[in-house]
Homo-oligomer: 152 residues x 2
Amino acid sequence: MQRTNFGEMVCSIARTLDVIGEPWSPLILRDVWVGMRRFDELQADLKISRKVLTERLGHLVDHGVLERRPYDNRPRYEYHLTEKGAELVDLLMVMKGWGDKWLAGAAGPPVLYRHHACGEIADVDLHCTHCDKPMHAADVDILPGPGARAGY
Amino acid sequence: MQRTNFGEMVCSIARTLDVIGEPWSPLILRDVWVGMRRFDELQADLKISRKVLTERLGHLVDHGVLERRPYDNRPRYEYHLTEKGAELVDLLMVMKGWGDKWLAGAAGPPVLYRHHACGEIADVDLHCTHCDKPMHAADVDILPGPGARAGY
DNA sequence: CAGGCAGGGTTCCCTTACAGAACTCCATCT
DNA sequence: AGATGGAGTTCTGTAAGGGAACCCTGCCTG
Protein backbone atom coordinates (compact mmCIF):
# COMPACT_ATOMS: atom_id res chain seq x y z
CA MET A 1 0.00 0.00 0.00
CA GLN A 2 1.55 3.25 -1.06
CA ARG A 3 1.40 5.64 1.83
CA THR A 4 -0.43 8.39 0.01
CA ASN A 5 -4.07 7.39 -0.19
CA PHE A 6 -5.12 7.70 -3.82
CA GLY A 7 -8.62 6.56 -2.97
CA GLU A 8 -9.43 9.92 -1.40
CA MET A 9 -8.55 11.93 -4.47
CA VAL A 10 -11.24 13.42 -6.68
CA CYS A 11 -10.06 11.53 -9.73
CA SER A 12 -11.25 8.25 -11.17
CA ILE A 13 -7.75 7.37 -12.28
CA ALA A 14 -6.38 7.81 -8.76
CA ARG A 15 -9.28 5.85 -7.31
CA THR A 16 -8.71 3.02 -9.73
CA LEU A 17 -5.04 3.00 -8.74
CA ASP A 18 -6.12 2.66 -5.14
CA VAL A 19 -7.71 -0.66 -6.12
CA ILE A 20 -5.14 -2.13 -8.50
CA GLY A 21 -2.23 0.27 -8.37
CA GLU A 22 -0.10 -1.66 -5.93
CA PRO A 23 2.77 -3.72 -7.27
CA TRP A 24 1.67 -7.21 -8.38
CA SER A 25 -2.07 -6.55 -8.38
CA PRO A 26 -2.47 -6.39 -12.16
CA LEU A 27 -0.40 -9.54 -12.57
CA ILE A 28 -2.51 -11.35 -10.00
CA LEU A 29 -5.59 -10.30 -11.91
CA ARG A 30 -4.06 -11.51 -15.15
CA ASP A 31 -3.32 -14.91 -13.65
CA VAL A 32 -6.79 -15.28 -12.21
CA TRP A 33 -8.22 -14.24 -15.54
CA VAL A 34 -6.37 -16.98 -17.40
CA GLY A 35 -7.48 -19.58 -14.90
CA MET A 36 -5.05 -19.65 -11.99
CA ARG A 37 -7.24 -19.56 -8.94
CA ARG A 38 -5.32 -20.93 -5.99
CA PHE A 39 -2.88 -19.41 -3.59
CA ASP A 40 0.03 -21.75 -4.21
CA GLU A 41 -0.51 -21.69 -7.94
CA LEU A 42 -0.36 -17.92 -8.03
CA GLN A 43 2.62 -17.86 -5.72
CA ALA A 44 4.55 -20.36 -7.81
CA ASP A 45 3.77 -18.62 -11.08
CA LEU A 46 4.56 -15.10 -9.96
CA LYS A 47 7.28 -15.95 -7.44
CA ILE A 48 5.78 -13.27 -5.28
CA SER A 49 6.35 -13.28 -1.54
CA ARG A 50 3.55 -15.23 0.18
CA LYS A 51 3.12 -12.35 2.57
CA VAL A 52 2.53 -9.84 -0.18
CA LEU A 53 0.28 -12.24 -2.07
CA THR A 54 -1.90 -12.61 1.02
CA GLU A 55 -2.13 -8.84 1.35
CA ARG A 56 -2.95 -8.28 -2.31
CA LEU A 57 -5.60 -10.98 -2.48
CA GLY A 58 -7.21 -9.56 0.65
CA HIS A 59 -7.19 -6.07 -0.82
CA LEU A 60 -8.69 -7.22 -4.11
CA VAL A 61 -11.37 -9.20 -2.31
CA ASP A 62 -12.14 -6.23 -0.03
CA HIS A 63 -12.63 -4.07 -3.09
CA GLY A 64 -14.94 -6.56 -4.74
CA VAL A 65 -12.65 -7.35 -7.64
CA LEU A 66 -12.05 -10.94 -6.61
CA GLU A 67 -14.28 -13.37 -4.77
CA ARG A 68 -12.86 -15.93 -2.35
CA ARG A 69 -14.74 -19.20 -2.67
CA PRO A 70 -14.31 -22.43 -0.73
CA TYR A 71 -13.95 -25.39 -3.07
CA ASP A 72 -13.71 -28.27 -0.63
CA ASN A 73 -14.82 -29.32 2.83
CA ARG A 74 -11.32 -28.62 3.97
CA PRO A 75 -10.31 -25.00 4.36
CA ARG A 76 -9.45 -24.54 0.70
CA TYR A 77 -10.21 -21.45 -1.33
CA GLU A 78 -10.22 -20.30 -4.91
CA TYR A 79 -10.23 -16.77 -6.20
CA HIS A 80 -12.58 -15.76 -8.96
CA LEU A 81 -13.11 -12.53 -10.85
CA THR A 82 -16.31 -10.70 -10.03
CA GLU A 83 -18.08 -8.67 -12.71
CA LYS A 84 -16.26 -5.63 -11.37
CA GLY A 85 -13.00 -7.53 -11.67
CA ALA A 86 -13.73 -8.82 -15.16
CA GLU A 87 -14.23 -5.27 -16.35
CA LEU A 88 -10.79 -4.42 -15.02
CA VAL A 89 -9.38 -6.86 -17.53
CA ASP A 90 -10.04 -4.16 -20.14
CA LEU A 91 -7.14 -2.39 -18.55
CA LEU A 92 -4.92 -5.42 -18.86
CA MET A 93 -5.80 -5.81 -22.51
CA VAL A 94 -4.82 -2.23 -23.22
CA MET A 95 -1.57 -2.67 -21.29
CA LYS A 96 -0.84 -5.78 -23.29
CA GLY A 97 -1.38 -3.89 -26.53
CA TRP A 98 0.90 -1.05 -25.54
CA GLY A 99 3.59 -3.40 -24.26
CA ASP A 100 3.40 -5.44 -27.46
CA LYS A 101 3.83 -2.34 -29.57
CA TRP A 102 6.51 -0.50 -27.64
CA LEU A 103 8.37 -3.05 -25.57
CA ALA A 104 8.23 -6.47 -27.20
CA GLY A 105 10.99 -5.81 -29.72
CA ALA A 106 11.87 -8.14 -32.55
CA ALA A 107 10.69 -11.24 -30.71
CA GLY A 108 7.10 -10.05 -31.01
CA PRO A 109 4.23 -10.38 -28.56
CA PRO A 110 4.45 -13.14 -25.96
CA VAL A 111 0.70 -13.64 -26.14
CA LEU A 112 -2.00 -13.19 -28.80
CA TYR A 113 -5.71 -12.67 -28.50
CA ARG A 114 -8.15 -14.38 -30.84
CA HIS A 115 -11.43 -12.53 -31.00
CA HIS A 116 -14.45 -14.83 -30.80
CA ALA A 117 -16.62 -12.57 -32.93
CA CYS A 118 -14.36 -12.67 -35.97
CA GLY A 119 -12.01 -15.54 -35.18
CA GLU A 120 -8.97 -13.43 -35.99
CA ILE A 121 -5.87 -12.58 -34.04
CA ALA A 122 -6.41 -9.00 -32.96
CA ASP A 123 -5.85 -6.37 -30.35
CA VAL A 124 -8.06 -3.83 -28.71
CA ASP A 125 -8.53 -0.25 -29.76
CA LEU A 126 -10.50 2.47 -28.03
CA HIS A 127 -13.78 3.62 -29.51
CA CYS A 128 -16.34 6.16 -28.43
CA THR A 129 -19.34 4.81 -26.53
CA HIS A 130 -21.49 7.35 -28.29
CA CYS A 131 -20.51 7.34 -31.96
CA ASP A 132 -18.37 4.16 -32.09
CA LYS A 133 -15.51 5.93 -33.84
CA PRO A 134 -11.93 5.72 -32.53
CA MET A 135 -11.26 7.85 -29.48
CA HIS A 136 -7.83 8.56 -28.09
CA ALA A 137 -5.85 11.10 -26.09
CA ALA A 138 -5.91 13.80 -28.76
CA ASP A 139 -9.59 13.32 -29.63
CA VAL A 140 -11.20 14.64 -26.48
CA ASP A 141 -11.80 17.77 -24.49
CA ILE A 142 -11.69 17.38 -20.75
CA LEU A 143 -14.53 18.94 -18.82
CA PRO A 144 -15.46 19.01 -15.15
CA GLY A 145 -18.14 16.48 -14.30
CA PRO A 146 -20.79 16.37 -11.57
CA GLY A 147 -18.40 14.69 -9.13
CA ALA A 148 -15.86 17.50 -9.39
CA ARG A 149 -16.25 18.51 -5.75
CA ALA A 150 -17.81 21.95 -6.02
CA GLY A 151 -16.78 24.49 -3.41
CA TYR A 152 -13.05 24.55 -3.66
CA MET B 1 10.93 0.90 -8.01
CA GLN B 2 9.43 -2.33 -6.87
CA ARG B 3 12.26 -4.70 -6.16
CA THR B 4 11.05 -7.44 -8.42
CA ASN B 5 11.94 -6.43 -11.93
CA PHE B 6 8.79 -6.73 -14.01
CA GLY B 7 10.64 -5.61 -17.12
CA GLU B 8 12.40 -8.95 -17.39
CA MET B 9 9.20 -10.97 -17.48
CA VAL B 10 7.90 -12.48 -20.70
CA CYS B 11 4.62 -10.59 -20.49
CA SER B 12 3.61 -7.31 -22.06
CA ILE B 13 1.51 -6.42 -19.05
CA ALA B 14 4.47 -6.86 -16.71
CA ARG B 15 6.72 -4.90 -19.04
CA THR B 16 4.22 -2.07 -19.22
CA LEU B 17 4.08 -2.05 -15.43
CA ASP B 18 7.84 -1.69 -15.40
CA VAL B 19 7.37 1.62 -17.21
CA ILE B 20 4.31 3.09 -15.47
CA GLY B 21 3.58 0.69 -12.62
CA GLU B 22 5.28 2.64 -9.89
CA PRO B 23 3.18 4.70 -7.56
CA TRP B 24 2.41 8.19 -8.95
CA SER B 25 3.51 7.51 -12.52
CA PRO B 26 0.02 7.33 -14.03
CA LEU B 27 -0.99 10.49 -12.19
CA ILE B 28 2.08 12.31 -13.45
CA LEU B 29 1.18 11.24 -16.95
CA ARG B 30 -2.37 12.44 -16.45
CA ASP B 31 -1.19 15.84 -15.31
CA VAL B 32 1.22 16.21 -18.20
CA TRP B 33 -1.53 15.18 -20.56
CA VAL B 34 -3.86 17.91 -19.32
CA GLY B 35 -1.15 20.52 -19.66
CA MET B 36 0.91 20.60 -16.49
CA ARG B 37 4.46 20.51 -17.67
CA ARG B 38 6.70 21.91 -14.95
CA PHE B 39 8.27 20.40 -11.89
CA ASP B 40 6.78 22.72 -9.29
CA GLU B 41 3.40 22.66 -10.93
CA LEU B 42 3.29 18.87 -10.82
CA GLN B 43 4.60 18.83 -7.29
CA ALA B 44 2.01 21.32 -6.08
CA ASP B 45 -0.87 19.56 -7.80
CA LEU B 46 -0.01 16.04 -6.70
CA LYS B 47 1.58 16.92 -3.36
CA ILE B 48 4.10 14.25 -4.14
CA SER B 49 7.50 14.26 -2.49
CA ARG B 50 9.96 16.22 -4.63
CA LYS B 51 12.40 13.39 -4.36
CA VAL B 52 9.96 10.85 -5.73
CA LEU B 53 8.81 13.25 -8.43
CA THR B 54 12.41 13.62 -9.58
CA GLU B 55 12.80 9.84 -9.70
CA ARG B 56 9.56 9.28 -11.56
CA LEU B 57 10.18 11.97 -14.15
CA GLY B 58 13.64 10.54 -14.75
CA HIS B 59 12.25 7.06 -15.16
CA LEU B 60 9.55 8.19 -17.57
CA VAL B 61 12.07 10.17 -19.60
CA ASP B 62 14.47 7.21 -19.66
CA HIS B 63 11.71 5.03 -21.02
CA GLY B 64 10.81 7.51 -23.73
CA VAL B 65 7.37 8.31 -22.40
CA LEU B 66 8.16 11.91 -21.53
CA GLU B 67 10.58 14.31 -23.10
CA ARG B 68 12.44 16.90 -21.04
CA ARG B 69 12.70 20.18 -22.93
CA PRO B 70 14.40 23.41 -21.93
CA TYR B 71 12.06 26.37 -22.27
CA ASP B 72 14.31 29.24 -21.32
CA ASN B 73 17.94 30.30 -21.34
CA ARG B 74 17.96 29.59 -17.65
CA PRO B 75 18.03 25.98 -16.56
CA ARG B 76 14.30 25.51 -16.86
CA TYR B 77 12.60 22.43 -18.22
CA GLU B 78 9.20 21.26 -19.29
CA TYR B 79 7.98 17.73 -19.68
CA HIS B 80 6.05 16.70 -22.76
CA LEU B 81 4.40 13.47 -23.83
CA THR B 82 6.15 11.64 -26.63
CA GLU B 83 4.12 9.60 -29.10
CA LYS B 84 4.87 6.56 -26.95
CA GLY B 85 3.60 8.47 -23.95
CA ALA B 86 0.50 9.75 -25.68
CA GLU B 87 -0.48 6.19 -26.49
CA LEU B 88 -0.25 5.34 -22.82
CA VAL B 89 -3.06 7.78 -22.23
CA ASP B 90 -5.35 5.09 -23.63
CA LEU B 91 -4.69 3.31 -20.38
CA LEU B 92 -5.65 6.35 -18.36
CA MET B 93 -8.87 6.73 -20.29
CA VAL B 94 -9.84 3.14 -19.55
CA MET B 95 -8.96 3.60 -15.88
CA LYS B 96 -11.09 6.71 -15.79
CA GLY B 97 -14.04 4.80 -17.25
CA TRP B 98 -13.74 1.96 -14.77
CA GLY B 99 -13.32 4.34 -11.83
CA ASP B 100 -16.34 6.35 -12.97
CA LYS B 101 -18.48 3.25 -13.17
CA TRP B 102 -17.42 1.42 -10.04
CA LEU B 103 -16.01 3.98 -7.65
CA ALA B 104 -17.53 7.41 -8.29
CA GLY B 105 -20.76 6.75 -6.38
CA ALA B 106 -23.74 9.08 -6.41
CA ALA B 107 -21.62 12.18 -6.99
CA GLY B 108 -20.84 10.96 -10.49
CA PRO B 109 -17.65 11.30 -12.50
CA PRO B 110 -15.24 14.08 -11.53
CA VAL B 111 -14.31 14.56 -15.16
CA LEU B 112 -16.04 14.12 -18.52
CA TYR B 113 -14.65 13.59 -21.99
CA ARG B 114 -16.15 15.28 -25.02
CA HIS B 115 -15.34 13.43 -28.18
CA HIS B 116 -14.28 15.71 -31.01
CA ALA B 117 -15.66 13.45 -33.71
CA CYS B 118 -19.23 13.55 -32.46
CA GLY B 119 -19.17 16.42 -29.98
CA GLU B 120 -20.85 14.33 -27.32
CA ILE B 121 -19.89 13.47 -23.76
CA ALA B 122 -18.70 9.90 -23.96
CA ASP B 123 -16.35 7.28 -22.63
CA VAL B 124 -14.13 4.73 -24.27
CA ASP B 125 -14.98 1.14 -25.00
CA LEU B 126 -12.74 -1.57 -26.36
CA HIS B 127 -13.18 -2.72 -29.92
CA CYS B 128 -11.40 -5.28 -32.05
CA THR B 129 -8.70 -3.92 -34.35
CA HIS B 130 -9.73 -6.47 -36.93
CA CYS B 131 -13.54 -6.46 -37.08
CA ASP B 132 -14.31 -3.29 -35.06
CA LYS B 133 -16.80 -5.05 -32.86
CA PRO B 134 -16.61 -4.83 -29.05
CA MET B 135 -13.89 -6.96 -27.50
CA HIS B 136 -13.57 -7.65 -23.80
CA ALA B 137 -12.23 -10.20 -21.32
CA ALA B 138 -14.75 -12.89 -22.18
CA ASP B 139 -14.50 -12.42 -25.93
CA VAL B 140 -11.03 -13.73 -26.53
CA ASP B 141 -8.94 -16.86 -26.50
CA ILE B 142 -5.41 -16.45 -25.29
CA LEU B 143 -2.72 -18.02 -27.44
CA PRO B 144 1.05 -18.09 -27.24
CA GLY B 145 2.67 -15.55 -29.54
CA PRO B 146 6.05 -15.44 -31.25
CA GLY B 147 7.67 -13.74 -28.26
CA ALA B 148 6.69 -16.56 -25.89
CA ARG B 149 10.29 -17.52 -25.19
CA ALA B 150 10.55 -20.94 -26.79
CA GLY B 151 12.84 -23.39 -25.10
CA TYR B 152 11.65 -23.45 -21.57
C1' DC C 1 -4.99 -43.93 15.21
C1' DA C 2 -0.28 -41.73 14.56
C1' DG C 3 2.22 -39.68 11.03
C1' DG C 4 2.43 -37.49 6.79
C1' DC C 5 0.80 -34.37 3.41
C1' DA C 6 -1.24 -30.49 0.88
C1' DG C 7 -3.32 -26.05 0.73
C1' DG C 8 -3.38 -21.73 2.57
C1' DG C 9 -1.72 -18.85 5.06
C1' DT C 10 1.54 -16.17 9.42
C1' DT C 11 5.76 -14.62 11.50
C1' DC C 12 10.14 -12.73 11.52
C1' DC C 13 14.05 -10.17 9.97
C1' DC C 14 16.37 -7.50 6.51
C1' DT C 15 16.55 -4.06 3.03
C1' DT C 16 14.66 -0.75 0.03
C1' DA C 17 11.48 2.96 -1.00
C1' DC C 18 8.24 6.61 0.12
C1' DA C 19 7.08 11.06 2.98
C1' DG C 20 8.30 15.35 4.02
C1' DA C 21 10.93 19.12 5.40
C1' DA C 22 15.18 21.63 4.73
C1' DC C 23 18.79 22.89 1.90
C1' DT C 24 21.32 24.05 -2.64
C1' DC C 25 22.24 25.96 -7.15
C1' DC C 26 21.87 29.15 -10.81
C1' DA C 27 20.34 32.76 -13.80
C1' DT C 28 17.71 36.61 -13.99
C1' DC C 29 14.96 40.74 -11.88
C1' DT C 30 14.98 45.13 -9.10
C1' DA D 1 23.96 43.24 -4.25
C1' DG D 2 20.22 40.96 -2.74
C1' DA D 3 15.88 38.84 -3.67
C1' DT D 4 13.26 35.65 -6.45
C1' DG D 5 11.71 31.54 -8.83
C1' DG D 6 12.38 27.16 -10.94
C1' DA D 7 14.37 22.84 -10.51
C1' DG D 8 16.14 19.87 -8.17
C1' DT D 9 19.26 17.35 -3.86
C1' DT D 10 19.92 15.84 0.91
C1' DC D 11 18.58 13.97 5.12
C1' DT D 12 15.89 11.38 8.52
C1' DG D 13 12.03 8.50 9.96
C1' DT D 14 8.61 5.02 8.86
C1' DA D 15 6.38 1.70 6.20
C1' DA D 16 6.27 -1.75 2.65
C1' DG D 17 8.38 -5.48 -0.24
C1' DG D 18 11.54 -9.93 -0.27
C1' DG D 19 12.28 -14.26 1.39
C1' DA D 20 12.74 -18.01 4.35
C1' DA D 21 10.80 -20.55 8.11
C1' DC D 22 6.99 -21.78 10.60
C1' DC D 23 1.94 -22.98 11.70
C1' DC D 24 -2.80 -24.88 11.29
C1' DT D 25 -6.40 -27.83 9.66
C1' DG D 26 -8.55 -31.63 7.77
C1' DC D 27 -7.96 -35.67 4.90
C1' DC D 28 -5.18 -40.03 3.56
C1' DT D 29 -2.32 -44.03 4.55
C1' DG D 30 -0.25 -47.85 7.00
